[in-house]
Amino acid sequence: MITPKKIFFHVFFAVFVFGMTCLLALSAGVEFISPFHFLEPSFTPIGKLRLSRILLGVISGGSLALSGCVFQVLLKNPLADPFILGISASAALGATIAFALHLPYNAIILFSLLSALIALGIIIFVAQKKGPTASNFILLTGVLLGFLFSAIVTLFLTFATPYESASLIFWLMGSLSHPVPLSISWISLGIVFGISLFLFLKSYELNLLNLGLDEAHALGADLLKTQRRFYLLASFLTALSVALTGMIGFIGLILPHVIRKFWGTDHRLTLPLHLFWGATFLIFTDACMRTLSPYEMPLGVITALVGAPIFLWILWKGHPYQ
């Protein structure tokens, strides 16, 4: 049984590990720098660069893990991930348009976010129009939107110059090295924490949705309102993450499974854990890559390389819900 004390204990532990990882990520890199030295003026620029990566890691890792968990319950599909509804492909299309127009980096973020919001609008419209039982319809709509937007991006890549193609492909593969201004990162972080807090306050409704629509309804859940709220917030988290860091795969699929394996399916406990463990995983992976290689590696590829074996391990070990 979940009690506030139990939640506090587990979240406190996750926050402690997250804090330690942030300190490690601040210090680790091609050159190890003690966290105390960042107070010295000569190390400030490096500190700012590493801080930017940490902030993006929290925003992206936390958002993707949270929205992955929410989508898996909403769509009643253990294979669902934050990118399944076409939000990411739509964000990629927005970024592609900005790339094609040779706009500055901040405009790429803006275009990407706006484009993702259009896909989000379509999903919310479908969810509203088709009612609470339309999860398969929403899923198919999202997958088809994803195919459509991806096709347009591929078309652009075909006709783009080699430089444009290389830049866009690197952006699409996802990285914490994107030059996002610190002010935008701090605002985005505030938004992510705000949405996470709201999702935590409504987490019991997600427990009811896990029962299936009939039972959730019979237990007093307002299905239409609850589903719309979760679709909107989880999609927005995905859109924000993709706009800032590109498509970092596997976190949104794998983390929810790993967290369920260790902490169960009560979302009052697991939703805050998704935020902190997702952030910790991404920041740690990025710090390891920066330390092991002087080259900038696409993080989406690394998380997939780490994630796929973990997923196979879970699959082979046998999971309670399979």
Partner: protein, 258 residues
């Protein structure tokens, strides 16, 4: 004592009328069985009564007030539902699953009190499934599974229990155990039970009242002793039967004439 009434309920899918002017009052503290052939609208009727579908005409009254005017949680404190099987996406153990039955009584973040825990423990003990509390739902047998579904509904602490074919996946022994359990619960907890059943024998032996549903209309509704007749069974199922007295239970014995 709760009053639950359907008034002129109608429902249609595109190009097909499912229910046509259904009116009845649920007999209080009795077991009512709904009998009818496949596709006659039994499950649709349950969904309307649970508020999962909105009627195209007519209304449902709960304590003489239209059900739509109640908040969802308030309805869930009066009416509990037992589906044919659980439809969990991610598995839960029996204790966690039954504890969710307390949802309509929880406030805020939904943290359960000791009272809620005690309620779950007592219900599991009453239904002789306390030993299953740590088992995962997917690992239960059909009979155990059905008992757990009923336990969750009982934890809602409602006056009305609606069940959709509670014996459809069970063998003869497990089905009899579930129906006996429901009979005892109805008497001990003074609950009004409405359930869809496929077998007229089960209705005859375990229900007090019967509602014959045919082509979306109520063909007959009343006491099982009066209405479980060869004529009503023929009108409903187009099957010839012979009815006499069961020497062991004193209820009607239904024999097929085939």
């Amino acid at each position: 004592m709760i009053h639950f009434e359907a008034q002129n309920l109608s429902y249609a899918f595109p190009q097909k009328k499912i229910l046509d002017e259904i009116s009845f009052t649920l007999p209080s503290q009795k077991i009512t069985g709904i009998l009818g052939p496949n596709g006659t609208g039994k499950t649709t009727l349950l969904k309307l009564l649970l508020g999962f579908l909105n009627p195209m005409a007519g209304k449902i009254l709960l304590n003489h007030r239209e059900m739509g005017s109640y908040p969802r949680k308030e309805i869930a404190r009066h009416i509990a539902y037992v589906p044919q099987f659980s439809n969990l996406t991610f598995d839960l153990n029996v204790f966690e699953y039954v504890l969710l039955g307390r949802a309509p009584h929880l406030k805020g973040l939904g943290f359960e009190s000791l009272k809620d825990i005690d309620c779950v423990k007592k219900t599991l003990q009453d239904l002789n499934i306390f030993h299953l509390k740590a088992r995962f739902m997917h690992s239960l047998s059909g009979g155990e599974h059905q008992r757990v579904l009923i336990a969750k509904a009982l934890c809602q602490n409602t006056e009305i229990l609606i069940l959709d074919e509670p014996t459809s996946h069970l063998d003869l022994k497990a089905a009899l155990e579930i129906l006996s359990l429901l009979k005892n619960l109805s008497q001990a907890r003074k609950i009004s039970i409405l359930m869809v059943l496929h077998d007229p024998v089960q209705v005859s032996e375990f229900c007090d009242e019967v509602l014959f549903l045919n082509h979306g209309k109520i063909q007959a509704m009343g006491s099982v002793l009066q209405l479980m007749t060869e004529e009503n069974l023929y009108k409903t199922f187009q099957v010839q039967t012979h009815i006499d007295k069961n020497p062991f239970t004193g209820k009607q014995r239904i024999t097929l004439k085939i």
